[in-house]
Symmetry: C2
Subunit: 349 residues, 2 copies
Amino acid sequence: MDSDLYEMPGMENARVTIKDVARAAGVSIATASKALNDRGRMTVETRQRIRDVAASLGFMPNAMARALVSQRSFTIGLLTNDTYGRFTLPVAAGLSAALIDCGVSVFLCAFEDDAGQAAINLRSMLEKRVDGLVIAGKRIDRGLPIELPRLPMPVVRVNSLCSDDQIGFVPDDREGALTAVNHLIACRRRRIAHVTGPTSFLAVRLRAEGWEQAVQAAGLPLLDGPQSGDWSEAFGFRSGQQLLAMPPAERPDGVFCGNDQIARGLIDALTVGGLRVPDDVSVVGFDNWEVLAKATRPPLTTIDMGLNELGRQAGSTLLDLVAGKHVEPGVRRLACRLVVRSSCGAQPL
Amino acid sequence: MDSDLYEMPGMENARVTIKDVARAAGVSIATASKALNDRGRMTVETRQRIRDVAASLGFMPNAMARALVSQRSFTIGLLTNDTYGRFTLPVAAGLSAALIDCGVSVFLCAFEDDAGQAAINLRSMLEKRVDGLVIAGKRIDRGLPIELPRLPMPVVRVNSLCSDDQIGFVPDDREGALTAVNHLIACRRRRIAHVTGPTSFLAVRLRAEGWEQAVQAAGLPLLDGPQSGDWSEAFGFRSGQQLLAMPPAERPDGVFCGNDQIARGLIDALTVGGLRVPDDVSVVGFDNWEVLAKATRPPLTTIDMGLNELGRQAGSTLLDLVAGKHVEPGVRRLACRLVVRSSCGAQPL
DNA sequence: CTCGATTGGGAATACGTTTTCTCTAAACGA
DNA sequence: TCGTTTAGAGAAAACGTATTCCCAATCGAG
């Protein structure tokens, strides 16, 4: 390709090196470097003159040369098997936000659950000498499909399995469930059911614990153990139909759903069956997947897992680790947040 | 932090340099480099011995040192204002797939529609000397919220505004609409309506053109111009209610929706109103947003925009550009694909 | 036996920065 | 006036790799 194609109009030419700046300012490379990085001693006039020259030439330091000497790439890797992005994207946004202030960029590697792919991507990151690694998963009781060897850089985990000597950030599922059920109770619901995903998920078991705990603490009857199925609207719909088939006296007046899809399906079934939400039955979901929660009729009150905040904290912790600070190992469970819409009868904020 | 923490078990130590390999193999650095890169002349034994030594030491070339000398970072940037990830994530997956074979990684920069953020991210990529840039947007008639100066690297655009002298990849909206409507016609629908998003979107106007064209080509009556609203389920629901209010003779027996959310809302309204889908009214959507399309009752037949393929082609084209090959400027419109489910009465594949 | 060609391998340089050390000249105190 | 400090600036080494020469040894032909 003709390199003239990329010629810049004076400003912003990426080919300008510090040597050009030094020459144009009539100083040595060392002095130029010090002027631009606020290091060393020199008259304010010299410093300013060099900076002006650099700016007018559109000088941009070559990050790789800088990395080579400083042994820091100002780059971190985000390794995830969530190609769908349901969880990882909000995490990535929080992560970037926490890092961009420090000039750190993020390499994204999303791969299907295939160990070969994962290994290639990991190797690529190691060669690029990322300063740290964030491992993001889809569930808190599974790691990535590859064995991570002892890595030459700090690692933090988000929404992923994490042993006690590692550092991880996950939503506090039990507390989230407590919050959800307490909201139903505050809305004067007495018979609160729980319809949720497969019990093989740790998150399901934790949320069920929260449900039980809240119900018992309020002295309410504990209905039959959680209804467990898959994470789909279809399962929610079937559960809603079962609810309709119950004698009205036995019927729950509140349902805490394991995710928003189930909640949506359940509400649709109840509506089709002639029950009113929230008047006859209040429903609260989990995830705050806005495209779903906002479109539900009525809009769904649900629990936000704070994925963005998870990413943000993971980022700043990783920066601490890179800087050599000590960080206590272990899993941090971050609080979830209730998002009130209209499916429980409470006033939306 | 204690650096022993990161000590590796012999293998996989990132601190091993080519100098260590050379010393261990009893050769010079130059020879080691040539052995590992299949360059220069030497006996096969020497070459193999050096490679074995490198492997046993867990040598990994430092990508930044390599980049410095080769003037190639083996890195490309993905700049997007789609923080929600609806469009960008599939694009990113295709992109990565096309690049990983060549050892190229991707920097992800997602930012809200804020010029300051955008500029910071762009600058960061320029400093990191990415070999090329992919600009991904949310709609084909808007660019990013920043003025891109003449950049010192090739750029391709995906799902974003693109002038004739630039290189871009977008879905072929008109052709997709044609496919959708022709499918309705193949399902023996005669009165085909179009319910879609705001006409300020070029995509909306193109899809409307495709609708008209297909209807007229089949000699069917052209119903009142497209119903235009916002991209929401709520609008789809209201449109469905209006349909129910029409005299049955005037009522469309097929609806082509501008996206899956509208289709979902519309189907829900029809179902609540007692009309059967697909028997009374067939519906086809646009986007193939699986979480929505699969959960619709009945599952939604829709148009897949091939975002993944868009990303893949953008990636390989960018690699060509980086390699200096000539690429004809202009916008490529990639074919969409019909995904048959159950909302039109045709047999799902 | 000599000359040229070929083969295997190494020395040196470059890539663009940062940083340490050294040097000069000016300022200052006695 | 002489030594001592200090301000200002530059020379050089380092980071890890790829590459361009160059050199020594071996070999074959005449």
